[in-house]
Symmetry: C2
Subunit: 333 residues, 2 copies
Amino acid sequence: MASFAVLGAGGWGIALALRLEQNGHKVVLWEAFPDRAKTIRESRENPDFLPGVIIPPTIDVIDDLKTAIQGRDAVVSALPSHVLRSVFEILSKLSFVQGLIVSGTKGIENETLLRMSEVIASADKRISADRIVVLSGPSHAEEVGRGIPTTVVAASSNSDAARRVQSWFMGPAFRVYTSGDVAGVEWGGALKNVIAIAAGISDGVGFGDNTKAALIIRGIVEITRLGTALGAKADTFSGLSGMGDLIVTCASRHSRNRFVGEEIGKGRTLEDVLGSMAMVAEGVRATQAAMALSEKHDIDMPITREVHEILFNRKNPKQAMVDLMTRNPKAEG
Amino acid sequence: MASFAVLGAGGWGIALALRLEQNGHKVVLWEAFPDRAKTIRESRENPDFLPGVIIPPTIDVIDDLKTAIQGRDAVVSALPSHVLRSVFEILSKLSFVQGLIVSGTKGIENETLLRMSEVIASADKRISADRIVVLSGPSHAEEVGRGIPTTVVAASSNSDAARRVQSWFMGPAFRVYTSGDVAGVEWGGALKNVIAIAAGISDGVGFGDNTKAALIIRGIVEITRLGTALGAKADTFSGLSGMGDLIVTCASRHSRNRFVGEEIGKGRTLEDVLGSMAMVAEGVRATQAAMALSEKHDIDMPITREVHEILFNRKNPKQAMVDLMTRNPKAEG
């Protein structure tokens, strides 16, 4: 039995806390806002982000960060990408984080173009890369929280650390594979959102399953081109954290990124769509980051370029699709 | 402008004939049954397989095979897998097939374990492999027939032939990539149906999108293992004809293979499900072929094995899923 702090009591934090608790581990769930922590602690659920999933009394829900992380075998981040740096900066002043850091956060830091594990290590200099394990894959929190069979990857430069995380989380409804390719797993999780927007646009203009499958396959091809230029391994993008996560995101009626694309495909502007959303669509920022990276490294990314044109230069979505289809004939490889 | 015979006036045959016709080519559509050919010729649609898609008068629909194939630049097969051999055996006695053969047929010949292009070459010995081009990818006929943007692969050992097929078919709604890996393209198209059954079983027992994505990703891993042992290139299985086709099949409400899995996941027996279906579910035979091949080549295929156990040994589907999830912990690669 090991002891964990899970940072972030949203859907993903609760789902991960439940996986650990059901394997017999001790888990404390940290929520930044005291009143929300109190509500969740007393009602035993988060009605906004994971309604109907009960948090057992063995999991304490607290708002004190220092108490939360003290003496744990691992601290698990289920924080949104835009608060990750500030929480770990606070931690760096507050207390020495022991044990491993499991990062369940996906995204790219826009100003720095850093991956999330790099943000953690840069926010708290005492956390070395070999103490960080990234957990990622096709894992809607709504399903993980309900014990629906799910399969993910635990990636670390430290294979021992990856195997420890595997053994902690693995159970009859949660299968964990290890990987040594942290960069590949993190780039896949961040860049898939660009393709999810493209898939949504295709849905919005009334195209079909053939079109969406083509965007997914050719999308992974260009993500792989960029990712390998950034040091990742090509095979990782065909795996659970790349293609796997992309498939669930593009199929999901709930994906915010796919939704943004669909609305734009129907003719709305980006400002209009974003203005009406409570939550951030990570993929809009990821599109800017991917464009910047593709130009910097001189990588051909036709789908990303068309999504960028549609989102930021109001290119007609149907015209963008025709332009994608009628490029010069090519070989597949 | 080139001249084509499309063999088979089902959904796929009509859809391919329309792509060619809209590129300005001359196309004749061959249907084996005279009365059905007459109905289609007169009504200008196939109400059973592609209702609502109109066949223009420039496309002749005939039942005479010799006339159909005489003097064409290419003969396009959109025949069901179980009649492919007999049609090409008839052709071998009837007339010399000139030009290229485009094979749009997917499957494995169960008795011989041959791929479809191998069946063609074995049925008519005068057709050498370098005259055959395989056309495959995520391409529901319902969408191709309606001009929904679709992307496929044209694969041949003869790169010149593949490029000719690419140039004939390519248009604003039909993008064709070339490939040199005929074996990979054909094995992907045939073996995906085993995983489609697994995905259906997962749906039938009430599992979720996470589960299905995991089956797709780990399914391609084991298909790739088998395919490379049979001479295919690994990368092909990540492409349009492998993963791409698998994605549309597993997402589709219309896939017969996914449907068979879903009904079995709900508790029906294979005999019962097959007995109630008008059409054949290719994946049931593909599961037997894949099991035979995996044993012959000593390839670990855990998903195929569980599907085989469920279909033919009445293993409980939920138990099979738990057995898949709780195998020994592994690395992803």
